[in-house]
């Protein structure tokens, strides 16, 4: 049972290690999908939003963690 629990924890940690970051990534993907499928914009513009959104998340989440670590 402990091994099964560890495996589940590992799987959750792999994808949702930082819940805030994971939620932000899902929002960016959902926004891109909505732009393409609902708003009917050019797919490449949705792709640009996806790419720029993900790049911004990398920078912002590292900056935020740095500030948090510096403040503690």
């Amino acid at each position: 049972m402990t091994i099964l629990k560890d495996v589940l924890a590992e799987l959750v940690g792999m994808f949702l290690g930082d819940a805030r970051l994971a939620a932000a990534i899902l929002i960016v993907v959902a926004l891109s999908a909505a732009l393409i499928d609902v708003a009917g914009v050019e797919p490449l513009i949705g792709g640009g939003v996806l790419l720029v959104g993900c790049l911004s998340l990398v920078v912002e989440s590292a900056r935020r963690s740095g500030r948090r670590a510096a403040g503690s």
Binding site: D6, V7, L44, L51, A62, R63, G66, A69
Partner: protein, 249 residues
């Protein structure tokens, strides 16, 4: 038939990611072998590899039944969650916010832990040692299995990505057999940074294709995405380091 512009990033991502994970698993297996000999270490490792093989064999035929666009979207999103998480952590380690992985320290801690566990549970140390090796290989191997499937499944590159992972296993085993101590000189965080960059690039690429986007330059767009994620990771690391330096002054 695959093109090298797609195959090369897939194989190298599988190779580098596997290298990192296998080095981590090897440290625990070596601690087990040092404490109780190679028999429990080999049995635990073989058991875990059998479970991982069964997972791949079970998932392979299932993946063939999923429509390609849905498969690309799901794997792309999982890659984004996994890859950006790795990249963020590597950037924070490079900035000194999160401590670096120390294989020598992990080896020492695992050796002490195994001894304490045997005393506490009054169980055979061979059994506990074997289970420790099994768990280490299984948990680290799960990440390897995911990465191989993720970078390989979308374009029929499962075999090529698996070869990349197997080459990493072989390299670690040969290096481990030669030095016979934890492979602490492997530049683990640099590798993790590189893998995080590649997985994030694949994540954007697959997610986009799953959403029906035709990227300009097709597979070559992967290289541009990788360059952009590398720049973003380095910028994030520099900003995190600056935040710490400002508070320290």
């Amino acid at each position: 038939m695959f093109t090298w512009s797609t195959a090369a990033p897939a194989i190298s991502a599988a190779f580098l990611a596997s290298l990192v994970e296998v080095v981590e698993a090897f440290t625990i297996v070596l601690a087990v072998a040092t404490l109780r000999g190679w028999r429990p270490a080999a049995l635990g490792t073989a058991g875990a590899l059998a479970v991982l093989g069964a997972i791949v064999l079970a998932l392979g035929p299932l993946l063939d039944r999923v429509p390609l666009q849905l498969l690309q979207l799901v794997i792309g999103i999982l890659l984004l969650l996994f890859g950006i998480g790795w990249l963020r952590k590597a950037a924070l380690r490079a900035a000194g916010v999160v401590p670096l992985h120390d294989e020598d320290a992990i080896f020492a801690a695992e050796t002490v832990h195994l001894g304490e566990e045997a005393r506490r549970r009054r169980t055979s140390l061979d059994w506990i040692a074997g289970i420790a090796a099994f768990k280490a290989v299984l948990l680290e191997g799960l990440e390897v299995v995911f990465i191989v499937i993720a970078v390989g499944a979308g374009r029929g590159l499962l075999g090529a990505a698996s070869l990349g992972a197997l080459a990493a296993c072989a390299l670690v085993l040969v290096a481990g057999a030669i030095v016979h101590r934890p492979l602490s000189r492997v530049p683990e965080n640099t590798l993790k940074f590189g893998v995080g960059v590649m997985l994030s690039a694949f994540g954007v690429f697959w997610t986009g294709e799953g959403l029906g986007i035709e990227w300009p330059g097709h597979d070559l767009a992967l290289f541009l995405f990788a360059a952009l994620f590398l720049a973003a990771g380095l910028l994030g690391s520099a900003l995190a380091r600056r935040a710490i330096t400002e508070v320290a002054q």
